[in-house]
């Protein structure tokens, strides 16, 4: 009985975004990363060829984080004291990109020094995000953006309450931005409109629709991402940006991953559980449309790398 495979024909496609610049392109990166370009739902190779692979970023910090899970402190060891060494280790563990998260204690000069040290130590394209407090984010990111003109870094996070300064410095210094909105299709779209209205081309914007970790609201993030991707494929231009999400950040603040004292025996081995938590969160989000997943544990990187290469097999 001949069965005709139903294939969706989509009028829209995701914008192609390139992160990082090599020496020839005015930067210092050993390679660039290109994401986006799809015109199917995730990994539907039977509908259309998918040219760009989703990628993995590893998150490091400019200063040793005191509140990270002991499991992360253990695996990264002394490298956490030195962003350059940490970045190198992240690269060696298979990451495609580095996320450098600045902290509230950083002065602009510290932020610039940390960024330059990371660029020196690793040839991977770099995402830099502020500590998440508008005035300090702006101060640090402007300094970083100016000191790294032409590198095509990704600066984050632009939010509806604070995006102008970051977008302006990204425009002036040839960088990209991340637009983050709290799990809502319309808010995501609106922020993308505000940012492009300032004159930054859509090809230089990634959107972070925000997710929850497994057990802590992943289903909201999951469905918002599916809806954003469907809207994009249906032709809605302001949703056609590649998506970046942070399963690492979300996972490692859950009780399941963060602590092992006083947790039920049914949760099983701490490390094993935490890696499953991070990888299951990540793989679910990749299958709902993520183009970049930001992780924290190197074992998760290796597993998700395997999963992505399996998913990209035609």
């Amino acid at each position: 009985m001949p069965i005709e495979i139903p294939k969706d024909k989509w009028p829209g496609s995701i914008k192609t975004v390139t992160i990082g610049a090599t020496a020839a392109e005015g930067g210092t990166r050993a390679k660039t990363i290109t994401i986006g370009g799809q015109n199917t739902m995730p990994f539907m190779h039977f509908e259309n060829p998918i040219s760009n692979t989703p990628v993995i970023a590893l998150e490091i910090k400019s200063r040793k984080p005191e509140d990270w899970s002991a499991l992360l402190a253990e695996v990264w060891g002394d490298a956490m004291d030195d962003p350059a060494r940490w970045a190198k280790m992240a690269e060696d563990s298979g990451a495609d990109l580095i996320v450098l998260a600045l902290t509230l204690e950083d002065e602009p000069a510290d932020a610039v020094a940390a960024t330059k040290a990371v660029l020196e130590a690793s040839g991977l394209p770099l995402i830099v995000w502020g500590p998440g407090q508008s005035d300090i984010d702006n101060e640090l990111l402007v300094a970083v953006a100016e000191a790294t003109k032409g590198e095509r870094l990704v600066l984050g996070l632009c939010e509806d309450s604070n995006y102008r300064t970051i977008v302006a410095t990204a425009m002036a210094n040839d960088h990209l931005v991340i637009a983050r909105t709290p799990m809502d299709v319309n808010l995501a779209k609106q922020l993308n409109i505000l940012i492009t209205d300032m004159g930054l081309p859509a090809e230089r914007i990634l959107m972070d629709p925000t997710t929850g970790a497994l057990g802590y609201g992943i289903e909201y993030g999951y469905s918002v991402m599916e809806r954003l991707r469907l809207a994009a494929l249906q032709g809605d231009g302001m949703t056609q940006l590649p998506m970046i999400v942070t399963p690492g950040f979300e996972t490692w603040k859950t009780k399941e991953a963060k602590v092992n004292e006083g947790v039920p025996a049914e949760w099983g081995d701490w490390l094993s559980r935490s890696i499953h938590w991070e990888t299951l969160t990540a793989v679910s989000l990749l299958e709902s449309g993520a183009d970049i997943v930001v992780l924290r544990h190197p074992e998760s990187v290796s597993r998700i790398k395997d999963a992505i290469s399996e998913l990209m097999m035609v």
């Binding site: 069965i3 139903p6 509140d67 497994l214 603040k253 949760w267 679910s284």
Partner: protein, 441 residues
């Protein structure tokens, strides 16, 4: 696919006899389309129309239920491709695999441990759903070994009907699942399923053959079918399950059955968990796992719960006073709403901070802080009322109450409502709670 009211109207007598209790046939048709009345209320509908309407009201994916005693594992009855379009209904069963060749002792040990496993998530207890027995040895003894340790439903995996037959005899009175009927053995397997009233997996590595086989097997009298489209690797498995779901929703009846998947075939447990996660999100009805490890099963059970949560109804937590990190009478009271994601974000951060606190969860109809405030479901009056309803002053002596930063505007009113309390304004986002508790409290 379900028919519209107009399509149904065309199948009715169109005499407006009113005997169904509705003024016109069209009115009755509309009620039928909305599934608010039964077709039986119409005394004059023709047999032909009746058959057509019954066909159209059947779900696009047949509900298959495995049963043993009071345990059930249900799959099917799904109606959408994406959970936001409506919801996913029947959570896929997680089955732990054992092999007859492992011997009764090893089987009994693994099954006993897995059967006893129970984990609590957000007030709900989760367990595994059953066991899969590979008939690569004395299958009847293996099934007996499983049955001595668990009463949960069984999937029997093998290709030789004569080997499976005595094992199924052990499961008399249950609905087991036999895996699988392939092109080479489908007739004997279909007979076996009929004889033992079992459900049957139909296996083929292309959809054309799969569809042909379900038709033939159904003609033999087996209606409870489950599909195994074969294929290895995440990409192929994903494509298969998406194609099958799409076809079923397009009313290709031959493929309108739940799907079984085998993450147990992964080379290593790391990959098994990821394959199982894909199977959960992408439409499997039955999932066979090799590894029973709480560190893997717990996240899979949580993922399944999350994906199958009805997106139209935000899950709510019970309003009340929650104790975090063993609070004392001088610990602060933090206020939030009963929207699950809000509650869990806040509770999780307070927990992670290591600081003791009382968490006062108010009834805000399951809305987040800002949404509830905008809708008038989270205001000073309601918060004050909650402190009384949950007898906070019996527990707390140092009366410090912390509002979410997003509703700082309520602090003046709350001070009026609770004159003996010290009203503070906390951070806007949950993530900043640990720092706040360390610095400000």
């Amino acid at each position: 696919m379900a028919l519209s009211g107009i399509q149904i109207y065309k199948l009715l007598p169109q005499t407006n006899c009113k005997e169904c209790g509705f003024p016109t046939c069209l009115a009755f048709a509309m009620k039928l389309a909305a599934k608010q009345v039964e077709l039986a209320a119409c005394p004059y509908v023709s047999d032909e129309s009746q058959a057509q309407l019954a066909e159209s009201s059947a779900p696009p994916i047949r509900l298959v239920t495995l049963k043993s005693g009071e345990h059930e594992a249900k799959a099917g009855n799904e109606v959408v491709l994406f959970r936001h379009e409506k919801t996913f209904y029947n959570k896929p069963g997680l089955f732990i695999r054992v092999k007859a060749s492992d011997g009764a002792e090893a089987i009994s040990k693994k099954v006993t441990e897995a059967d006893a496993y129970k984990v609590n998530y957000v007030g709900m207890d989760f367990t595994v759903d059953g066991f899969a027995v590979v008939a690569d040895g004395d299958a009847a003894s293996a099934v007996k070994a499983v049955r001595s340790a668990s009463k949960r439903p069984i999937i029997l995996i093998g290709e030789d009907a004569s080997v499976l037959d005595p094992a199924l005899a052990v499961l008399e009175g249950e609905t087991a699942l036999i895996a699988a009927a392939a092109e080479s053995n489908w007739e004997t397997m279909a007979d076996l399923a009929v004889r033992h009233k079992a459900a049957l997996v139909v296996k083929a590595d292309n959809l054309d053959t799969l569809a042909e086989m379900t038709v033939k097997i159904k003609e033999k009298g087996v209606e409870n079918l489950v599909l195994d489209p074969g294929g290895a690797g995440m990409s192929k498995t994903l494509a298969n399950s998406v194609q099958l779901r799409r076809l079923a929703l397009k009313n290709v009846r031959e493929l309108g059955y739940p799907v079984i998947s085998y993450p147990c075939k992964a080379d290593k447990p790391a990959q098994e968990a990821i394959l199982a996660a894909q199977a959960i999100a992408k439409y499997s009805g039955f999932i066979v796992l090799e590894t029973f490890d709480p560190a893997m099963i717990y996240p899979l059970l949580v993922l399944r719960e999350n994906i199958y949560t009805d997106p139209q109804k935000p899950i709510q937590v019970q309003p009340g006073i929650y104790e975090i990190n063993s609070p004392q009478p001088d610990s602060p009271v933090l206020v939030t709403t009963n929207f699950s994601i809000t509650y869990f974000s806040v509770a999780n951060e307070v927990e992670g901070s290591g600081k003791p606190a009382w968490l006062l969860v108010t009834d805000a109809d399951g809305m987040s802080v800002l949404t509830a405030w905008a809708a008038g479901k989270f205001d000073a009056e309601r918060i004050a009322k909650a402190t009384k309803e949950f007898n906070l002053t019996d527990k707390v002596s140092k009366l410090v109450i912390v509002l979410p930063g997003h509703v700082a505007v309520l602090s003046g009113e709350l001070e009026e409502e609770l004159p003996n309390w010290d009203v503070k304004v906390g951070p806007r986002e949950a993530v900043d709670i640990p720092a706040y508790l360390k610095q400000a409290i």
